[in-house]
């Protein structure tokens, strides 16, 4: 490896003299891109990676601000209609020209059976072509954050898809037809995928015909290798074989700091971690209290909240890298309210008093469900909280299990089988409505609302506000409503918010990169060799 390091150094020197020199960049993540088909899986890492290859009508920049993408501008002509001007002069990697037909085609493709993007495509009722570079989008309901959603809905080339029989999203269930688009790509992004072996490596090469000359990157060739084992991933960075890895285990930060030529890169993620409690069953599934559900009593929920020292967990378990939170949405999210963001005060005496008032002076026992391979230090956080709760008489039994078992039990299809659980939520649209709709509003199986409201919290006013903010376009009114709902849910102790999970990357000194708060690596921002 010393040889190639020398070559790299040489290349870096050349790069300083001539900025257009070839630059290689190697990076690693704990898992692989699941599919190359941009409509087959709605998952943050896969879509984030594919956003280097495919693009939507709009893009997020490094600060998660909305920027024009394949659309140059948009305006709402009524609450449900959008006039969108498309970018001219954009070509797909295989040479096709981007226009309105591709947008309409992609929207229809997003609604086909194998699509996991039906949620986004389904917001749209119709798209009318006003010209080759102008369209009118009509949504079913007023939806002010349509363009935020469109950042993760990628546009494919109609002609290419038709030629290759890829007009429908690749489906997982048909092993005879894997889908051309699941193996090949043809986007408008700055990089094209030139080689791929699933689970082993994926090669990105710079697309010379990219429409935007202003992107920072000087990378011409990038290689992505998924490395599952954290120790191996960290070693690959320290030995200089990788330029960037993520995530880095929090306990390895000091190792990266002491190693030469690399450094940890950290910041608050948009994901808020919290504890939830079953407040809907008449008797808890896993508790010593029989015949009633103590969690229905707000005093008990408050007692739990006041017994957990969020600051201590952030300082000790998360090594100071987590930002304590008081509400379930992060500062980057539209609708965030700083005045509500102080964590519940740590006060064991108050906690004991509340428990006594509620009729549990001696506490009770309960099971805390927790994943052990999904979030940063997930199991350790649960164990720490359990020991804090034991000081006020709550005897907590922590059950930590692998994510597929955990989510299988916890989510709707498993029947919300928990009494007390640990979870994190990232609003994909970076808007409060996504969090409200999924985890805060009352559960409704018909509309799909509250599907991840595992504890079954239900406050009629909060549910009403959730519906209103879906279509409220006045930003001030909308913020007032969001703050009201956040305040209500906080007073109800709907959840015990903990903190924003820290992003944890390890980066070589020869690389500069913008770390986005949704943990997405945008190759557009990667600059190699000073």
């Amino acid at each position: 490896m010393y040889l190639s390091t020398a070559t790299k150094a040489l290349l870096a020197c050349v790069a300083m003299a001539a900025p257009a020199a070839a630059e290689n960049f190697k990076f690693s993540y704990q898992g692989d891109i699941s599919t190359l088909d941009p409509h087959s899986l709605n998952e943050v890492f896969t879509l984030g990676m594919m956003n280097n290859v495919y693009e939507g009508l709009a893009l997020y920049d490094g600060e998660m601000k909305l920027q024009p993408g394949l659309a140059v501008g948009w305006e709402t002509t009524s609450p449900t209609t959008w006039r969108v001007k498309l970018r001219e002069g954009v070509t797909f990697h295989e040479g096709g020209t981007f226009d309105a037909d591709d947008v309409i085609f992609s929207w229809q493709r997003g609604l086909t059976e194998g699509s996991d993007q039906k949620g986004r495509a389904g917001l749209i009722k119709a798209i009318e072509k006003l010209g080759p570079y102008e369209i009118k989008i009509e949504t079913h309901d007023p939806y002010p954050i349509l363009m935020q959603e469109m950042t993760s809905f990628f546009i494919m080339d109609k002609e290419w898809s038709e030629e290759n029989g890829a007009t429908e999203a690749s489906s997982i269930k048909d092993s005879s037809n894997v889908g051309y688009a699941g193996q090949h790509t043809n986007g408008t992004g700055p990089f094209r995928i030139t080689a791929r072996q699933p689970g082993v490596s994926t090669t990105f090469d710079r697309f010379d015909g990219y429409w935007n000359d202003d992107i920072a990157t000087n990378v011409t060739h990038a290689e992505f290798v998924p490395i599952q084992e954290p120790a191996t991933r960290v070693s690959a960075l320290i030995s200089g074989e990788m330029d960037l890895i993520f995530p880095v285990p929090v306990q390895d930060w000091s190792r990266l700091e002491s190693a030469e030529g690399i450094a940890p890169l950290s910041g608050p993620e948009i994901r808020t971690m919290y504890f939830g409690m079953d407040q809907s069953r008449d008797e808890l599934l896993f508790s010593s209290v029989k015949g009633k559900n103590p969690m229905k009593d707000v005093r008990v929920r408050a007692a739990f909240a006041h017994a957990i020292n969020v600051q201590a967990i952030a300082d000790k378990v998360m090594r100071g890298a987590a930002t304590p939170a008081g509400i379930i949405i992060a500062p980057q999210v539209t609708g965030f309210d700083e005045t509500l963001n102080t964590p519940f005060v740590y006060d064991p005496e108050l906690s004991k008093k509340l428990l006594a008032e509620a009729g549990y002076p001696d506490g009770f026992s309960i099971t805390l469900d927790c994943p052990n391979d999904r979030y940063v230090n997930d199991e350790k956080i649960c164990v720490a909280a359990a020991s804090m709760l034991s000081k006020v008489g709550i005897d907590v039994d922590v059950v930590a299990e692998t994510k597929s078992r955990y989510f299988g039990r916890l989510f709707a299809q498993g029947g919300y089988e928990t009494s007390f659980y640990f979870l994190g939520w990232t609003p994909a649209s970076v808007d409060a409505h996504n969090s409200f709709f999924n985890i805060l509003t009352c559960r409704n199986t018909e509309t799909g609302a509250g599907a991840y409201n595992i504890g079954g919290y239900c406050n009629a006013r909060v549910a009403e506000i959730t519906d209103i903010i879906a279509s409220e376009v006045d930003p001030d009114k909308r913020q007032a409503l969001i703050s009201e709902a956040l305040k209500l849910s906080r007073d109800d102790v709907a959840y015990i918010p903990l903190f924003q999970q820290p992003l944890s990357w390890g980066v070589s000194d020869r690389v500069t990169v913008t770390q986005r708060s949704d943990d997405v690596l945008d190759l557009r921002s990667v600059v190699v060799g000073n």
């Binding site: 692989d32 709605n42 996991d116 039906k118 997982i172 699933p198 191996t232």
Partner: protein, 324 residues
């Protein structure tokens, strides 16, 4: 001989069916694969539809029969997490695993047998004590730890060798080999060393014990009395009789290495079948897991068959019993 083979093959079918059944019923406890296959915004109804579509709601026996009828045609379905046919994935990954295990088995034999003989012949010498005690390290340290230590020393501190992956590979037909490029060979060193250390102890001790046993037998004493030279005695007569159990154990051991190289593979991000399996467990990727267990069972069955046949060839006494 033919009867022996047919007999063994019949056994194998039963074994394979049993493994398939066990693998299948185990997988039912692994959790819900759906939450790894869709994004968080996917509605409950869509998730339920996907479950239904994949046939995950059918009773286990129905799923099992459906799996078997596809599997006999070589169709193991699509990987849930990588969305590629499972058979294709294994065809891609198998060369990496076989190269790693076979090379490490060869090294273990090349080093282990001479050391074993040496320790048997020079029973109390200083080198024997040194070999025996240092070989204990191989069994007492977990493979995972050996791998990490080697990475730390040779990859991170000395930077002599790559810490992960296979390096550049060359395709010969459908077989990818790392033996023909320098980066491929360099990448082999650490994982092969890790796996070799794991087997070495066993081989040394086995050869030593067997050899000492044989050296005590009457025919060796007589041979010695006849004045046969010590070298010929040790290496021709004694060693030949030692090899019988060694072959059995090493053969079975090869199956073990192929199956349990998964730890080494995940430490070195070695793109073989074991790594694929480890990744599949994390994602509750049922088709990959079941196919892996079936393939490993098949490999064990085949190795056993070969070992039986080798016995048949090496031990003349089996010829007569086979003829009966």
């Amino acid at each position: 001989m033919l009867k022996l083979i047919l007999n063994r093959l019949a056994h194998s079918v039963v074994v394979m069916l049993a493994v398939a059944l066990i693998a299948f019923s185990m997988v039912a406890f692994l959790g819900d694969p759906i939450s790894n296959m869709v994004g968080q915004d996917t509605t409950v109804a869509e998730r339920a539809a996907l479950r239904e579509n994949l046939g995950l709601n059918d009773p286990l026996p129905v799923q099992f029969v459906r799996f078997l009828s596809h599997a006999v045609q070589g169709d193991f379905g699509l990987s849930y997490s990588l969305r590629v046919p499972v058979s294709e994935l294994f065809a891609e990954r198998m060369p990496a695993t076989l190269e790693l295990s076979i090379i490490s088995a060869i090294f273990a034999l090349l080093i282990g047998i001479p050391l074993g003989i040496h320790t048997a012949i020079n029973r109390d010498s200083f080198t024997t004590q040194a070999i025996l005690s240092s070989s204990l390290v191989g069994v007492s340290l977990p493979t995972f730890l050996i791998g990490i230590l080697l990475i730390l020393i040779f990859g991170v501190m000395l930077r002599w060798l790559p810490t992960f992956g296979r390096g550049d590979v060359v395709m010969i037909g459908g077989w990818s080999t790392g033996l023909l490029t320098s980066s491929g060979l360099r990448s082999l060193v650490l994982p092969v060393a890790t796996l070799t250390i794991f087997q070495l102890t066993l081989i040394i001790r086995l050869v030593r014990a067997e050899m000492m046993e044989v050296l005590r037998t009457d025919f060796i004493k007589f041979a010695r009395a006849r004045g046969i030279r010590r070298k010929a005695l040790n290496y021709r007569h004694a060693l030949k009789n030692t090899m019988m159990p060694v072959i059995t154990v090493v053969g079975l051991q090869l199956g073990n290495i192929i199956a349990f190289s998964l730890i080494t593979e995940s430490v070195f991000q070695w793109p073989g079948m074991g790594l694929l399996f480890v990744q599949a467990i994390g994602n509750a990727d049922i088709p990959v897991m079941v196919a892996y267990l079936m393939i490993i069972a098949l490999i064990f069955v085949l190795i056993n068959l070969i070992v039986d046949l080798l016995h048949f060839v090496l031990d003349p006494r089996l010829h007569s019993s086979g003829a009966n």
